[in-house]
């Protein structure tokens, strides 16, 4: 009899605890849905989609980076390489091979995954070593592409895809990529895989000791984190019609992805979205009002964030008010 009571009590507390977890997921899902819906309406309501397009791009970049930084603790300083390779894969498939755009975008994703598999051995490295090797490999990749015959990559001139121009369709393609990224992050945060990744981030040795296959689990996160920036690179190439070898592998792209995600808070799932929106907004205002000191102010904003909000906006809120952890993931 007592054990029946006990079972019922366990069941009740399980319901309650799971309800809490589900509430958190629902809040995040509702937030994401609102962001997606608002961005879907932008081209219908206004003529100027540029800011919204780049907001989607940076939300994608920051959220995908969060998969590898927030969930595994690796900081790939050459993260831009996936974006750049995605852009070039789409460009080469469209321009040189004559593939239709949708197929070229699939090629972007495939290229990102293949590159991630190629770079997977670097996951053996840790901390700063991983970051620097990643940066060096991104530089190598940029130099290799710059040295390929220019009838493939366009050499230092880059590729121009003028005949594919379709700002409307490419806008919604980016929306799709962003939505897929957010869904993946949402799923990951709830899944056993996501918990295993966080366990690995906290202590990989102890994670192995409870039966988690650390290299394999990390690899899954790594592939996911590579897929979305590659797709984003492909879609952006389509949207702007230009692939510039300097820009496509520029360290600032990595840096901005990191800074936006960091500003929101790594490891929280809505953090990178909040961070990208806030900082891109600030950046936009600065750019319009003070174009000359734009970069200077961006740098100062980063310094201020690191000194005063080292856990990011969402991370700091959760640290100060732990009771909010029930609602915010």
């Amino acid at each position: 009899m007592q054990s029946a009571d006990h079972a019922a009590a366990v069941e009740a507390s399980r319901r309650q605890d799971e309800g809490g977890e589900r509430l958190r997921a629902r809040m995040a899902a509702a937030f994401f849905a609102a962001v997606i819906a608002a961005l879907a309406l932008v081209p219908v309501l206004t003529g100027n989609t540029s800011f919204a397009f780049y907001l989607m791009l940076w939300i994608t970049m920051a959220s995908a980076l969060n998969i590898v930084v927030g969930f595994t603790g690796y900081l790939p300083f050459g993260y831009v390489v996936f974006y750049g390779v995605g852009a070039y894969a789409a460009g080469i498939c469209y321009k040189v091979l004559g593939w239709p755009i949708p197929l070229a975008l699939v090629a972007s994703g495939v290229a990102g995954i293949c590159l991630a598999l190629l770079l997977a051995p670097t996951l053996r490295l840790k901390g700063v070593y991983f970051g620097i090797v990643s940066l060096a490999l991104a530089t190598i990749m940029r130099l290799i592409i710059a040295n390929l015959p220019s009838d493939i990559t366009g050499g230092s001139m880059g590729l121009i895809l003028s005949s594919s121009n379709n700002p409307f369709a490419s806008y919604y393609a980016m929306l799709l990529v962003m939505a897929a990224t957010l869904l993946s992050v949402l799923w990951l945060a709830q899944s056993a895989l996501g918990k295993a990744l966080k366990a690995i981030r906290d202590d990989d040795g102890a994670a192995a000791c409870i039966g988690i296959d650390v290299p394999r689990t990390r690899l899954v996160a790594w592939l996911l984190a590579a897929l979305f920036p590659a797709l984003a690179g492909g879609v952006e190439a389509w949207h702007t019609n230009i692939i510039d070898p300097e820009y496509a592998f520029h360290v600032l792209i990595t840096a901005k992805s990191i800074v936006y995600a960091m500003a929101g808070g790594f490891g929280t799932i809505i953090g990178p979205v909040v961070g990208a929106a806030v900082l891109l907004g600030i950046d936009h205002v600065i750019w319009q009002k003070f174009p000359l000191i734009n970069l200077l102010l961006l740098g100062l904003v980063i310094i201020a964030l690191m000194l005063f909000l080292p856990r990011g906006i969402v991370g700091t809120v959760l640290k100060r008010r732990p009771q909010l952890r029930r609602f915010i993931a």
Binding site: F77, Y129, L137, I140, N147, L295, L296, G299, L307, R311
Partner: protein, 293 residues
């Protein structure tokens, strides 16, 4: 043929020592503070601008400007330490947070230099007689040789400081074991500020050397020096002051010798591939002993 090779090796050695100084500055800051100074390259460039200013405005010769630059950079960054670094201790992952913080510093400094000095490439208009020295098949600009001598003197001074003085020994003790040092009762805070000042002071002086060895500098090239600095210290062993020098010479000789046979970007690839390959064979670099987290 062998003359060209010899020329490449000589050039590689000269650049290697300078890269090594960049790496040594980074390594002291990383080793003592666990701070990844992503703005190191900008401090190098700022050193070059500082010497340029001293030469243009006050007529101070670059080699005389070195001690002055070191003193100014050391003093300013000694104070800067107390503003920037202590708050990092609160972060979840101080190492990565420091990287991002210093990245912010790097962007700000690059932008400031762009505003103050414009985007044009500058160079130190400084010449010595004779302009070139010839040793058999090898031709070396005199300025480079003098710069090499100055660099070697700085290395010797640094080694003396780290291995013979009380403060230097304490710094090395912190690099080896931070916790133990705290227990022994060394003033970690003040020594950390000294290490920060020393690292950035070295960056400033190295900036003057790079301005003498390379034809020009501009606000945009700081990141390149930071990357090279990291590549050489990762190659040599993070936190290991001498490892940086070894890694740098290896990297620079590889790059310079490769540039004889291939175009410059292939040569850069060769240097980086060397670093990546070394890391896979020896995950803590050539001289790194302890596995760093």
């Amino acid at each position: 043929m062998s003359g060209l090779l010899l020329q490449g090796i000589i050039n590689g050695l000269i650049m290697g020592v300078i890269y090594g100084l960049i790496g040594a500055g980074l390594n002291i800051v990383f080793g003592v503070l666990r701070v990844v100074n992503f703005a190191h390259g900008e401090f190098v460039i700022l050193g070059a601008y500082f010497a340029w200013f001293l030469l243009q405005a006050l007529g101070i010769q670059p080699f005389l400007a070195m001690p002055l630059t070191f003193a100014v950079f050391f003093g300013v960054s000694y104070l800067l330490y107390f503003v920037l670094i202590p708050p990092l201790a609160k972060a979840d992952d101080p190492e990565i947070s420091s990287l991002l913080l210093m990245f912010g510093v790097s962007i700000s400094m690059g932008a400031l230099m762009l505003l103050v000095f414009d985007a044009d490439a500058r160079s130190l208009s400084f010449e010595m007689e004779p302009v070139f020295l010839t040793f058999g098949p090898v031709v070396v600009p005199t300025v480079r040789l003098v710069a090499l001598a100055a660099a070697l003197m700085i290395v010797a001074g640094l080694a003396y400081f780290l291995y013979r003085t009380h403060t230097g020994k304490a710094l090395r003790a912190i690099i080896m074991n931070r916790d133990a040092v705290r227990i022994v009762g060394i003033k970690v805070e003040q020594l950390s500020a000294i290490a920060f000042g020393l690292g950035i002071g070295l960056a400033g002086v190295t900036g003057i050397l790079t301005a003498l060895v390379f034809p020009s500098f501009s606000p945009f090239v700081g990141a390149d020096y930071t990357l090279i600095g990291f590549v050489v210290i990762v190659l040599g062993g993070l936190g290991h002051p001498i490892g940086a020098m070894l890694g740098a010479i290896l990297f620079a000789v590889t790059e310079q010798v490769a540039s004889i046979y291939f175009n410059p970007s292939i040569a850069t690839i060769c240097g980086f591939v060397l670093m990546v390959a070394t890391i896979f064979v020896r995950p803590t670099g050539l001289l790194g002993r302890q596995a760093l987290r």
